[in-house]
């Protein structure tokens, strides 16, 4: 019953999202024909234009277009990309792997490194190591991602000439693993650097909060080793919130990946959605927005579920809230 309710909420959210994106995208001035026909669009006669618009279904009122899109989408047909002139899924399939590689690997790196750094800082609280890491982290987190990318390109690609500045593989090379890895280093560094400290600092503060709890004092007075208190008790209490933050972090890291992809002209979903938004490639834009929306909504639900499952206190608190709300 509860799962059903969630599924329903998920579907309704997607429906509203699709309507909103559809509407805003068509409000934007710009010529979708230009992305379909390229330069030829400018030379068309009015009759040809009207014919072309009718062919693509762009001459109808927005709500009619939306309903038609919805009906087709429910049959699994999301239309063709105006720019690439093939099925949108085919366009996306070609790029999704690259983004998953960058974002997924980045995600794993960010959260494992952040956990390590956070614990390290909490352990050495207010000692030089903690202070240095905190300062460095704050500085790093303040550097805008695109500027960090520029700096790295300037240093490693322009001056030292050791790493490639753009793309996902060299043109002659058919994408060997070593070549892919070399192209990943700079974008990956930026993705990780842009988010690492935010989460490391979060886990550090969460642990420091935990360390100030009374049960730690009790455990100390019973003679438990500091390390086992920190890892067995404090960390254990901090992990549920960390897990739920991991789930919520997916959209942030995804958004960061989009910017990094654009700066490095990395052929992924980020550059694709940026192009589709700028050049009115409606069908492609819709699918990309829905995809990322679905991922985000799923992640939010996951976060909530994780929280409720691991930490019964949240369920209890919600029950109390519900009762007191009714009162």
């Amino acid at each position: 019953m509860r799962a059903l309710k969630r599924l329903l909420a998920f579907l309704i959210s997607l429906l509203i999202l699709s309507a909103a994106v559809f509407w805003i995208a068509r409000l934007a001035p710009g010529d979708p024909l230009a992305s379909y026909y390229g330069e030829r669009a400018e030379k068309m006669s009015p009759q040809q234009r009207a014919q072309a618009e009718a062919d693509l279904g762009l001459d109808r009122p927005i709500h009619v277009q939306y309903i038609r899109w919805l009906r087709n989408a429910l049959h699994g047909d999301f239309g063709i990309s105006f720019k690439y002139k093939t099925d949108v899924w085919q366009v996306i399939r070609g790029r999704a792997g690259n983004t998953l590689l960058l974002g997924g690997l980045g995600f794993v790196l960010i959260f494992s490194l952040a956990l390590g750094l956070g614990i390290l800082c909490a352990w050495f609280e207010d000692r030089p190591l903690d202070r240095i890491v905190c300062k460095a982290g704050t500085v790093l987190s303040c550097v805008p991602e695109f500027w960090l990318s520029l700096l790295l390109i300037l240093i490693f690609a322009v001056y030292l000439r050791v790493l490639p500045s753009s793309g996902a593989w060299s043109i002659g090379d058919g994408g060997s693993a070593g070549d892919r890895a070399r192209h990943l280093i700079l974008p990956m560094t930026v993705v990780v650097a842009g988010h690492l400290w935010y989460y490391a600092y979060m886990i550090r503060n969460r642990l420091l909060e935990e360390v100030r709890a009374d049960y730690v004092l009790l455990a100390r007075s019973e003679g438990l080793a500091k390390r086992s208190i920190l890892f067995r008790h404090c960390l254990r209490n901090a992990i549920p919130s960390y897990l739920s933050i991991m789930a919520i972090a997916v959209p942030h890291i995804m958004g960061g990946t989009y910017i990094v992809e654009t700066v490095f002209s990395y052929p992924g979903l980020g550059t694709l959605s940026y192009e589709s938004a700028r050049y009115q490639d409606y069908n492609l834009l819709m699918v990309l927005c829905l995809l990322s929306g679905a991922v985000v909504i799923l992640c939010n639900m996951l976060a909530q579920a994780v929280n409720e499952r691991i930490d019964p206190r949240i369920r209890a608190r919600q029950a109390v809230e519900e009762v007191s709300d009714r009162g």
């Binding site: 909103a20 500045s165 920190l230 958004g255 938004a277 700028r278």
Partner: protein, 294 residues
């Protein structure tokens, strides 16, 4: 000291010397505040500081290294970077504050409404907020900016403000949901206090301190958003000088290896962001302090 206490073995002791009063500036982020003040003043009175007309394209002197005449060099269009920093800072900072003012107003309105509303409305509002959060903000910004047409300072602030209020709204809602059960709020409601009266007199004074940190961080996020968008070519055009639009020339600069075009505006940008962050985390820290038990 009373005789009875003396009999019980308690002797009067001299009052402990008062701990030296901490200096007023102790623990405050002086460096950050000083830097921000200097930037703000410099940008406000940029007419005094600037050595050249920032918009003038001196094509004979394009992409010059920093020297005595052009303190920070010139960009690939021959504009003086030193002067551009100050007049561009005006735009960047203005967008940061404007966008934050817009997003905070929306956030407080939505959050407080949602917190005070009956359960179903609250759920609906929060669900909508979640949906809005789920579109990558880069995409919404690109789309909205396309709707509004050519970007200017006002329209870009509006777009950034409209797309960045959700997390503050959630925090306001949580705070208001806790506050609404307090006696004074109930009393005010019983006496017929309207929404805005409640918000102004009872709710806002209580949640302001807890959203302050996020508001400051929102300024930072807005400045980052402006520079990122302008850099990508969807924000401010080249003619409207801001730290972001200065960096949109980076592609040319990279091929010619002109490091100053990239390094200098970015360094000012990053330093300002750092100062804002320091200020924000001091605001947060000054709210709660407790000793470790470990």
């Amino acid at each position: 000291m009373d005789e009875r206490f003396a009999l019980a073995g308690i002797r009067p002791t001299a009052p402990a010397p008062a701990a030296p009063k901490p200096k007023w500036y102790k623990g405050k982020p002086l460096l950050a505040i000083g830097f921000l003040a200097a930037m703000a003043l410099g940008c406000l009175f940029c007419q005094v500081i600037m050595t050249k007309d920032p918009a003038y394209m001196d094509l004979a002197n394009y992409a010059r290294r920093p020297d005595r005449e052009f303190l920070f060099g010139t960009d690939t269009l021959g504009r003086d970077i030193f002067s551009m920093i100050w007049s561009g800072g005006r735009v960047s900072l203005a967008i940061g504050f404007l966008a934050t003012a817009i997003s905070t107003s929306i956030a407080v309105a939505v959050g407080a409404a949602s917190g005070l509303a009956p359960r179903w409305l609250d759920r609906l509002l929060m669900r909508l907020t979640d949906i809005l959060l789920s579109i990558p903000s880069l995409l919404t910004v690109v789309l909205l900016q396309a709707v509004l047409g050519q970007a200017g300072v006002m329209s870009l602030s509006l777009v950034i403000g409209v797309t960045s209020w959700q997390s503050i709204a959630k925090l306001v809602r949580t705070e208001v949901r806790q506050l609404r059960r307090s006696e004074y709020v109930i009393a005010a409601r019983c006496m017929g206090g309207g929404f805005f009266h409640l918000l102004r007199r009872h709710l806002a004074p209580n949640f302001l301190s807890s959203i302050m940190f996020m508001v400051v961080m929102n300024v930072r996020a807005a400045i980052v958003a402006e520079s990122t968008l302008s850099f990508m070519g969807v924000g401010l055009p080249l003619e409207i000088i801001s730290w972001g639009s200065m960096l949109s020339l980076a592609d040319n600069a990279l091929t010619s290896g002109a490091w100053w075009i990239i390094l200098i505006p970015g360094a000012f940008l990053a330093a300002t962001l750092l100062a804002i962050t320091e200020l924000g985390s001091w605001l947060r820290k000054s709210a709660n302090k407790k000793q470790s038990n470990l």
